[in-house]
Symmetry: C2
């Protein structure tokens, strides 16, 4: 081995070290990314879960945990109070058709689940980089169509079950059957839109998206339910 | 520079390269961890979001997305149908006290938000390692207490708002006021228990915990609401 080849080996090794150093930096950078975004896991319910909160969580007293969260809970409760106002304003409809009220918690829960699925997939795809803000229109359109389809499939199942097994009247079954696709579409569309809106406003979608979607879906789904009921009852010649 | 020192420099460089290689492996390993756990983001709504799903999400057609999810949605919808059965079985109560129905979507949404906050914090703490399965009892007990407190705080606010601003009757306001702490406690306790149960059964809590909690809270919260109403109406000498 001559001095010259030895020094060229040295050069190669040094280059290799620099390459590896760059890779380590890149990996460390990548590690920071997901660690931050995993802070808002299961975001439904909100509240900013900082790294410090997570580190102290086990040892902080229950009232600290509770008081930290009660503000966000209050904000979401205030937005949920619109559902009580809507129910109140359709008092006469509910009194005449008490069966309508049976499906209110079912529809609220189902809307939340449908929108939650969309948000879950979208936040993961955004954090993995396979979806970017420029894809917003495509994603929202696709999710809306996916919502129509799953709502129709489940509506076809729920309708007969309510009519045959629960003995629900034909006209309320019709309302339920028609509300399912509408609700699924609204929930999936909102679930696809809200994360992008959060990003545009510089907010963390993993904290805000799910509870904001739930509140909006509950309010708009309930309104849609009563509007559809109004039209269906008219068709059947019933009093609304 | 003698041949000997050159070869010792070579040795050092080679050692350095091996060290860096080990660090790169370690970092890659760490990257895999959080990447997996971030798959179930905002889990509400469930459905197993695999890495492959995320990679293909943008380009798969809407019906593929929809059909992948509709199974889980159907399972959660089936469990939500218990809420319709409960509402149906309290038909006479609802007919006599239609005001009770106004707060059903509000309570369902609030229960989901409270339990969702607990699950969000707990999943992050579990994934960060600051909470471990052996801490289950401590966490569940603490969350239950935190739930009582936030339910009492918000009940004190919601009661007067319903009574003064919405003109709700005194006895239904009392029911609402008493249901809030119960609901918050049940939601926070379930939100703290379900992730540990998932781990014990070898299931991924980030996918199942939130929608399972929502369904259980909706059903048990609704039952609790009617049981409290029963007792309160008896106290006021009203027909149930």
């Amino acid at each position: 081995m001559t001095g010259k080849t030895e020094s060229s080996v040295l050069g190669e090794l040094k280059e290799k070290i620099l390459e590896q150093k760059a890779e380590i930096e890149k990996l460390k950078q990548q590690l920071k990314g997901p660690a931050k975004s995993s802070g808002g896991h299961g975001g439904h319910g909100g509240g900013d879960v900082s790294e410090e909160d997570i580190a102290n969580y086990l040892d902080e007293p229950f009232y600290t945990t509770s008081l930290k969260r009660v503000g966000w809970l209050g904000i979401f409760l205030a937005s949920l109070s619109f559902t009580a106002i809507i129910m109140n304003s359709f008092e006469h409809t509910l009194e005449k058709h008490i069966e309508l009220s049976y499906f209110v918690p079912l529809l609220a829960g189902h809307g939340g689940n449908t929108g939650g699925q969309t948000i879950g997939t979208l936040l993961s795809a955004l954090s993995a980089g396979t979806v970017q803000p420029k894809h917003a229109a495509k994603v929202i359109f696709k999710e809306a169509l996916a919502g129509v389809l799953s709502g129709m499939i489940l509506g076809v199942i729920v309708g007969p079950v309510a009519y045959k097994l629960m003995g629900i009247s034909y006209h309320v079954t019709t309302v339920l059957f028609l509300t399912m696709p509408l609700l699924s579409t609204v929930a999936a569309t909102l679930g696809a839109t809200i994360p992008f809106v959060c990003i545009w406003f510089g907010l963390d979608p993993s904290v805000i998206a799910a509870p904001a979607m739930t509140s909006l879906v509950d309010v708009s789904g309930l309104l849609g339910y009563f509007v559809i009921a109004n039209q269906v009852f008219k068709l059947y010649g019933l009093e609304f």
